[in-house]
Symmetry: C2
Subunit: 208 residues, 2 copies
DNA sequence: CCGGTTGGATGGCGTTACCATCCATCCGAG
DNA sequence: CTCGGATGGATGGTAACGCCATCCAACCGG
């Protein structure tokens, strides 16, 4: 198909598609002549993935580019892709040379050790959590292990469920998409349900 | 204290503080002369709140401004503040006049009804969830109620715990901060733990 | 043959969250 | 009393981001 059809079917403008190609998110079509290239279903599929990661996952184009690079490299295993995704998602907070920060980060590391979780030391989620600890303490709401228990339980159960759902006997493309969907899109599902549940709980506690 | 001390103690530049005052996030100091104003601990506290909402919650300044306006209005009840916060957080997705979208939105509404949740019909989280449904279907990963069950359970338990933790016998300021902290900051805590738990599950399933 | 499409390149735009400057005023140490 | 430095208030600039608009030469297809 031509780029205009790709544009129609994906719902993205031709300009945007060109932009994604320039940024390395989408491979070029196969050149048929100097002014014509042929695109196929894989391009459409790829655009749908990009769109989902941007629209729902709210990922920056640069992060998607990194993820795509791993997706397209067949030597990258599933767990490695997982790491790439987590790292690309960020957030990449500065780690100030500050005692409060170091204490919070140490608390996070201790928690991970205690739970026996196999998590890379450079995982951005560690920093995100530590960052939250610092902010909570600065606001006078110090966080305790008791506070965290329900979160840990919820996170564990959901994550187990998600990883169980990733089929690894399908073609690589399918498996990889499945993994990305589990991590990026279902994170939003969890967030949305969390917010809805909060509103319900708030209504029952404070509602008129 | 003067603005320079406020700047030092909050870690924000004088320019940024001026900017927040202009945007209505921070009340002016009480004018002592034409070129001097006095700030107090409440200003500092407010800056810490703003900083947490931006840094951790990643909220746009405009959203914080709306939240602050509710916080400062004593006639706004806690549940109402909750609604304001949810609405300010967004995301405000367009709702295309599209059968897929309408079907997804109807699925969400049915789910909320079935769970008996008291949630406003205009809650952005409904749209966020519906949006996710659409994207998942477009990618060929249709979502089922079975998939959702663990998420609903996790969200419910965490939300219950959070709302239980909001003390409503403290001064309004404290209670209100507590509510905001529960909704905005603990959402990030949940997300971070979710990611860590996923990495652990991935390591055990796919790791070398 | 000619209107319309494409690849490829380049420049512009709208938003967001500030930062930098400037000016007139003012404070306060000496 | 004076002068360096801080302040309030206003205005303009900036950097990143994710596109969109335009242009050109080449090309296709009716």
């Amino acid at each position: 198909m031509q780029i205009s059809e790709l544009s129609d079917r994906s719902g993205l403008t031709v300009q945007t598609i060109k932009f994604y190609i320039r940024e390395g998110l989408l491979p070029k079509g196969s050149a048929v002549s100097a002014t014509r290239s042929e695109y196929d279903e894989r391009h459409l599929e790829r655009l749908r993935l990009i769109n989902a990661l941007r629209d729902i996952g709210d990922l920056p184009v640069a992060a998607i580019q990194q993820i795509i690079a791993s997706v397209d490299d067949p030597s990258v295993g599933l767990h490695e892709l997982f790491g790439t995704t987590q790292y690309a998602i960020g957030p990449h907070v500065e780690r100030p040379d500050d005692p409060h920060w170091r204490a919070a980060r140490e608390d996070v590391d201790a928690l991970v050790r205690e739970l026996g979780w196999k998590v890379g030391g450079g995982a951005p989620a560690r920093d995100l959590l530590a960052h939250s600890f610092v902010a909570l303490r600065r606001l006078g709401f110090p966080i305790t292990l008791t506070d965290l228990r329900p979160y840990v339980r919820a996170a564990t159960e959901v994550a187990e469920h998600e990883l169980r759902r990733v089929s690894d006997d399908a073609p690589r493309t399918r498996t990889v998409h499945s993994l990305l969907v589990s991590t990026v899109l279902y994170e939003q599902v969890l967030t949305a349900l969390h917010r809805l549940a909060q509103e319900d709980a708030s209504a029952r506690r404070f509602g008129a």
